[in-house]
């Protein structure tokens, strides 16, 4: 099995690894310790101490905090239980008219606001765009990934997490609370 040093993996993440070295990574059998090295690099790059359980996106992580598993941004902003779509706890800027859409897509390139709205999901901590959706009105936000964290750690990595959480989407439960 191939082995790659952390420095090279870090360069890859930053888009700074030379192309021949990237090709080497692509062509080699995958390194089984990649996940651990990757998480170590990410952990070293954030200013907070909670253990990263899974990098959800390049900026959002599922972390262990006080017996809970929550979604946390690189900047430290927290979004709550990972089983509830984190977008419900984000800021959002929605472009759904010609004026706002044409700021991005002017003239010939403007999509039709009666067919699509552009939703910018923004971190309340650092102001980063975390995701952008382009969907028609009525589309619930995509819950891109609900991991089965316990199956991942116990069955795939062979090291169960100390606690367990039911593999269950909690998004609609929060909506039900909001609807009361």
């Amino acid at each position: 099995m191939a082995q790659f040093v952390k420095e090279d993996i870090a360069k890859l993440m930053d888009g700074a690894l030379p192309w021949p070295a990237v090709q080497d990574m692509m062509k080699s059998p995958k390194d089984p310790d990649r996940f651990d090295k990757y998480v170590e690099i990410l952990q070293e790059r954030v200013s907070w101490k909670e253990q990263i359980l899974l990098p959800l996106t390049p900026k959002l992580f599922i972390v262990a905090k006080a017996g809970q598993r929550i979604v946390k941004c690189t900047c430290g902003h927290e979004f709550g239980d990972y089983r509830c779509n984190w977008k419900l706890e984000s800021l959002v800027n929605v472009r759904d008219d010609e004026a706002s859409i044409s700021e991005i897509y002017p003239g010939r390139d403007m999509p039709d606001p009666a067919w699509v709205q552009i939703r910018e999901y923004i971190c309340a901590g650092c102001g980063s765009f975390l995701e952008i959706e382009a969907v028609p009105r009525g589309c619930p936000p995509d819950f891109e990934f609900l991991p089965d964290l316990d199956a991942f750690y116990s069955e795939w990595l062979g090291r169960p997490l100390p606690d367990a959480a039911e593999f269950k989407d909690l998004t609609l439960a929060k909506i039900a609370e909001w609807s009361k």
Binding site: L12, K30, G107, E120, G127, E131, R137, C139, P140, D148
Partner: protein, 732 residues
């Protein structure tokens, strides 16, 4: 010992199915004995067989006549086990190995082994979507291959003919209102024997297609490729032995299944993945064929994957919207074949064959949806069935890109794909010959952004790894057009930290015709909307918006040696209307469409080919990358400054220098501004649910889409209602 043991192929197929259920291994192969005992020969023969298919592709395309196969290579050859599983395939249109495998299995299921029987030199074909074809222009062929008296394999081929006799000329039948308008139908037929087509097969082609010489030429190309496989395969078996061939070919398929499962387990994470996706087909007020087509349609193309703890991938399309009265409905068999192609790019690419199909389970798409039309609407058209499917597949790149990121395999990540907007011409060419056919511009999109770099410009295509848009000069020989431009299109990919590869724009001047139709076709494009591919905070790439002008002043411009149009120009100042005057001037067409009147000499077409999707916040893009793009003319100043947030220190002529410190300051201000402008999701949701309930500002096509999605998938509908707190029974 004979491989059949006296059993029919149908019995062997049933036995294989049972062995897989019983053991979890294809053909019951719990051990890959040939691989383990002689890995060198195993690997060598794999490459020999693969190259045998590629040799067939080279021979077959050269024998073919249409520019689509001969110049674009839009065809594919494959080698199969006696029971149909694809062992290896050539380059070319990789959407088809699944279809070809299923076609052979279907011939076996229909007892063709008993009657009319399978013999050396027999030629079988299908292009009928009701029997597993994708759309009529894709002619699927297979030939049984014998070694001595034993049927040891099948050779297969597909080529995309230039015209299949559908109601409108060409091969991108988006306007077809029903299956009766889809063109010539070859429904699981024996079309030749003794290595020759039956005369009546050719008679039918000559009666019912508009370009019979090309269509028959392509048929001979398919045959030539299959015969190449047969001839070379005999040499391979002579050399390595029939026992080895029988064993190893089955092992290659099981090996590929194991690879796909192993890759999922070692490089992804179990859980549930969801990705919404939509595409428009706006036809209201345009040239149509039947009154029922005077409508706009929107498609819901949802993808949900559940990866279980055994690394099995369960895929469903719950929420897929209803059929449409156009040629954009696809059978589940064809959809799954497309999925095999996507899988071959992303997961199962070590040995591309039927193996990965056993690594997933696809739930039957909602009956009556675009993805499963025939149970409820037998007459639905599949003229260009590929169109919604290819856009659904685009989501596969992004969702697996996300999974690879989670495991740290950044080098494997990809964002979403570009679109497929075609250009076809029908009419008299400069040799006074009737032509109907595709250019190949669409086969060379930008490639998706990667996790560590931008995508490549004009070098990628979802449906064919050739990514070859053909030589301009060859297109000019076939069609009455002259290229005035074929340039990289700035800002044609999404805007993100890593940019999708850019597309290009072809600018054509009509030349040497008494009149020709331009059909700007939908083989998987968006014109009203942008893709839902804002991966990690990138903006999706722009909609497909072609243009044309007829009855122009271009001849006068040429005579006066004035500047001509060579590119698309700024979105707010299109080059077409800036440079050319015309009786009919359309700079921003909503595609797809067919020109209402034929085009004539000196008319102009501006046909953009899309760039791919990006990933990451655009203000995280490196200043050096933006400076480079500015200096190459790949990003316009407006996008660099307003979307990427850079500060230009110096701009002299077309050379730019950026101010890194000032850019960082501006980007901090942008982040603060975003927070100020945005509102908490809950606050937006509270207002938005009222607008949803009132259908406020929603186009009727969007409402129809939601209504059919919710009707056809009640669970999906219930979840949507609960999210927006809509009453039970609410419908759009």
């Amino acid at each position: 010992m004979n491989g059949s043991n006296g059993r029919s192929l149908k019995e062997r197929m049933a036995s294989n199915d049972k062995a897989f259920v019983d053991t979890g291994h294809l053909f019951g192969l719990d051990k890959l004995t040939r691989k383990e005992t002689d890995p060198g020969t195993y690997e060598a023969v794999w490459h020999i067989l693969s190259n045998l298919c590629n040799a067939a592709w080279s021979v077959g395309c050269k024998v073919s006549s249409s520019p689509i196969a001969a110049e674009g290579g839009d065809a594919l050859w494959a080698l199969h086990t006696p029971t149909g599983e694809a062992i290896c395939v050539s380059r070319g249109i990789t959407a088809h190995p699944g279809l070809l495998a299923d076609m052979i299995k279907h011939f076996i299921e229909l007892d063709y082994e008993e009657y009319p029987g399978f013999h050396q030199g027999d030629i079988f074909e299908n292009n009928d979507p009701h029997h597993g074809g994708i759309h009529a222009p894709d002619f699927d062929m297979c030939m049984p291959l014998f070694y001595g008296d034993e049927l040891v394999a099948w050779a297969s081929c597909v080529s995309h003919v230039s015209d299949c006799g559908s109601v409108t000329p060409g091969s991108i039948g988006f306007l077809n209102p029903d299956c009766y308008s889809d063109g010539i139908c070859i429904s699981m037929e024996k079309v030749g024997e003794g290595d020759r087509f039956y005369p009546w097969y050719e008679n039918r082609i000559r009666s019912r297609t508009r370009t019979p010489d090309w269509v028959m030429g392509d048929a001979r190309g398919r045959l030539a490729g299959c015969l190449t496989i047969r001839e070379k395969l005999t040499e391979v078996i002579d050399k390595y032995g029939l026992d080895f061939f029988r064993d190893a070919t089955k092992e290659y398929v099981e090996d590929s299944r194991r690879y796909a499962v192993g890759r999922v387990k070692s490089q992804t994470v179990p859980g549930r993945i969801r990705k919404s996706q939509f595409k428009d087909l706006a036809m209201k007020g345009k040239r149509i064929l039947l009154g029922k087509q005077d409508i706009d349609c929107h498609f819901n193309l949802p993808m949900e994957l559940v990866i279980d703890k055994h690394a099995a991938v369960h895929i469903n399309l719950r929420g897929a919207s209803g059929t449409v009265p156009f040629g954009q409905n696809i059978s589940p068999v064809a959809l799954e074949s497309g999925l095999l192609m996507g899988y071959s790019h992303i997961i199962g690419f070590d040995m591309f064959n039927s193996g990965p199909k056993a690594a997933w389970k696809v739930e039957p798409p909602p009956s009556g949806s675009w993805a499963n039309p025939f149970e409820k609407d037998f007459t639905a058209s599949s003229g260009v069935a590929w169109a919604p499917a290819i856009m659904w597949l685009s989501s596969l790149y992004e969702v697996f890109g996300r999974l690879f990121q989670m495991r740290g395999f950044v080098e494997e990540m990809a964002a979403g794909a570009a679109t497929t907007m075609t250009a076809e011409f029908a009419g008299m060419n400069q040799q006074n010959m009737y032509v109907a056919g595709l250019t190949l511009e669409q086969a060379s999109n930008g490639s998706p952004a990667r996790g560590f770099a931008d995508g490549e410009n004009s070098a990628w295509c979802l449906y064919t790894p050739n990514a070859d848009f053909g030589n301009a000069e060859i297109s000019e020989l076939y069609y009455p057009i002259l290229f005035l431009g074929r340039n990289i299109e700035p800002d044609s990919a999404g805007f993100g930290r890593f940019r999708g590869g850019l597309g290009h724009t072809a600018v054509w001047m009509i030349h040497g015709t008494t009149g020709i139709e331009y059909q700007c076709g939908c083989a998987g494009m968006r014109s009203k909307v942008v893709a839902n591919h804002g991966m990690y905070g990138a903006y999706p790439s722009v909609p497909d918006r072609p243009g044309y002008a007829s009855d122009t002043n271009v001849k006068q411009l040429i005579d006066a040696q004035q500047p001509l149009i060579h590119d698309r120009g700024d979105p707010e100042k299109p080059a077409l209307s800036d440079i050319v005057t015309a009786r009919e001037m359309h700079t921003t067409m909503i595609a797809p469409f067919v020109t209402p009147e034929p085009l004539h000499d000196y008319d102009i077409i501006v046909h953009p080919i899309s760039g791919a999707q990006s990933m990451g916040d655009p203000i995280d893009r490196s200043v050096a990358a933006i400076e480079d793009d500015l200096n190459k003319g790949w990003v316009r100043r407006r996008v660099a400054e307003q979307i990427h947030g850079v500060v230009i220190a110096k701009a002299e002529r077309d050379e730019f220098e950026l101010d890194v410190a000032a850019t960082e300051k501006r980007r901090q201000a942008i982040r603060a501004e975003r927070k100020k402008k945005a509102i908490p999701f809950k606050q937006w949701w509270a207002k938005e649910k009222q607008k949803v309930a009132a259908r406020e500002g929603m186009d009727p096509a969007v409402c129809t889409m939601w209504r059919t999605s919710m009707d056809l998938s009640p669970g999906y509908g219930a979840e949507l209602r609960r999210f927006w707190n809509l009453p039970e029974g609410f419908t759009f």
